[in-house]
Symmetry: C2
Subunit: 340 residues, 2 copies
């Protein structure tokens, strides 16, 4: 508290009270920037037991883009988590193998910044990205590929085997867990620093006056009570949508066993319509107002919603440059695609 | 002829008869390299009336990767012509909207080097890439998007409108033709020079002795009678497959009205299994032998087929670096995806 007081006085002294105290206010409300310092960022996303390396990232990128990880050979991770579309697919509920919609009518979350989520999947059932990646690959309505099929395909392709050995050593066992861990390593670098981060990291000019006002409204209305942390989301919260949301009847998702749902990240939110677990609202300002009503129990006016949206545009981040990978050739031993 | 004779004498004089006379033999049999000289290449692929520019290529790349060009919003040009999979999809017959297989059971041809084809589609019905691109976008079992829907979506996105204006001028009319012409401009640069080209362009060491022997077998067996030109294919030929091919009964494709079919390119052929118009043969050596039997009326031995395959590996080309495009955001006016 002493430090905060000292900071406040210091800020008062410079005459730029509003801006700097807003940074402090955002921080006090749990909003955190992606660190500007690379080493600091690495500390957050790296796993000492499975460190991020160039070899793993390049290999993970290939796997992420490789449709042979699906039974049909035509659906990749990138199909539903499209790195060119804000890391999502832009449709209400994922469509997968056999043109089957997600059976719970669940919307595909963005892959960008997912490394910062405390839990994965809408019901938070998965603790980390490597575990998460197994789900859609194996799920019948998504990629429909059993672990054994994925292992067979990858191990049948010598170039993949070589790359795994280069990444993990000669004795690597290329099993489903190793494959999804490698995909996760690629996903970990999909971090998108934005003007909002520049601002929280100390660049007062990174946001306009209107954007700062929007941030202030965002906090005052209580949005940051769930949309906080670096991800501006990614933690489990009570799922009021089940009862009060105007499209609650679409799909059968009711949260986890405790009635909790993972708060979606707000990063790149302007790119990832439609919104909510069942993708039923396309307008961001409408989504903001619906959240006010459903989760916060307040009315958010059109003007306030517009101001919040003005702020939300500032969390659209700079995407890493991703060169499209050249995927290694299948061999005569590679299990053939199947469409049934 | 005088020049050829002079070259022969010159080659004899250097003592490297076999190698250099093989270049000449390939040339005399109609096989042509991708020019090493950039200006010469540009002469071949550029259209004076619609010149290739950086702006058009970047915009065309976005459109090529944008699944919103399909009715569902989840199928892009790259779905079936995947630039990471040799420019094709690796399955026997294309799967499109509604998980519908191509009704004629036709295999997706590669996009790489398609600028060198004399005709597009298996039946050669399309004269050039811009015209070709319209087909799969509109076809019900492929992307299922009427021209009017594509025009609506693109014109509803201001960033796209701006990019079209930057590429073509403020008064550009962004219609379906302009959209597919822009896609085609991107496709034109998808050219993949290979060791084979380096060899034909004069680097005697670009191919090994075994690869040169394979090229010689390829020519002696008559393969170059159809697989010639820069594309090593891409021209119309009589479609003997309809009668003699062992899998002729799969699908109902019988060539065009004159019984002709477009010879597929051999470039990057090791990456684009399965083979033939209906994708029924997965092994390249088996495909070579089948072609000998069906199109040439000769038996190609296992050894000869292996030698030809050794050569065919040398037409695997160096792919252009393609950074994944960040696609502009939809707006409230953008027509929504539909799945029926």
């Amino acid at each position: 508290m002493k430090l905060v007081n000292a900071l406040t006085i210091c800020v008062l002294g410079t005459g730029s009270l509003f801006a700097s105290s807003l940074i402090q206010k955002a921080s006090e409300n749990g909003m955190m920037p992606i660190p500007a310092d690379k080493a600091e960022l690495m500390k957050l996303i790296n796993d000492k037991n499975d460190p991020i390396t160039k070899e793993k990232v390049e290999l993970g990128k290939k796997l992420y883009f490789d449709p042979r990880l699906s039974k049909s050979g035509i659906i990749s991770c990138n199909t539903c988590h499209n790195v060119g579309l804000g890391g999502a697919d832009g449709i209400p509920a994922a469509i997968g193998h056999g043109w089957t919609a997600n059976p719970h009518h669940l919307n595909s979350p963005t892959v960008y910044n997912s490394v910062f989520f405390k839990a994965q999947f809408w019901d938070g059932r998965s603790p980390h990205l490597a575990d998460q990646a197994k789900g859609p690959i194996e799920a019948g309505p998504e990629m429909a590929a059993p672990a054994s099929l994925v292992e067979q395909r990858i191990n049948s392709i010598p170039e993949y085997v070589n790359e795994f050995q280069n990444a993990y050593g000669k004795n690597v066992k290329i099993d489903f867990t190793k494959i999804t861990e490698t995909i996760a390593t690629f996903e970990k670098i999909l971090v998108t620093p934005s003007p909002f981060d520049d601002y929280l990291n100390g660049n007062e000019n990174a946001l306009t006056k209107e954007e700062k006002a929007g941030l202030n409204t965002f906090i005052d209305k209580g949005c940051a009570s769930c949309h906080n942390g670096i991800a501006l989301g990614g933690t489990m919260q009570p799922f009021e949508l089940a009862a009060k949301y105007k499209f609650a009847s679409v799909g059968d998702f009711k949260g986890n066993a405790q009635g909790m749902v993972k708060t979606p990240t707000l990063r790149n939110i302007t790119e990832t319509a439609p919104y909510f677990h069942n993708g039923q609202i396309w307008s961001l300002s409408e989504a903001v107002q619906e959240m006010g009503s459903v989760q916060l129990g307040i009315a958010i006016s059109d003007e306030e919603a517009a101001s919040i949206v003005t702020f939300l545009k500032t969390v659209k981040g700079r995407k890493p440059d991703i060169s499209y990978p050249q995927l290694p050739e299948s061999t005569k031993d590679t299990s053939k695609p199947a469409f049934d």
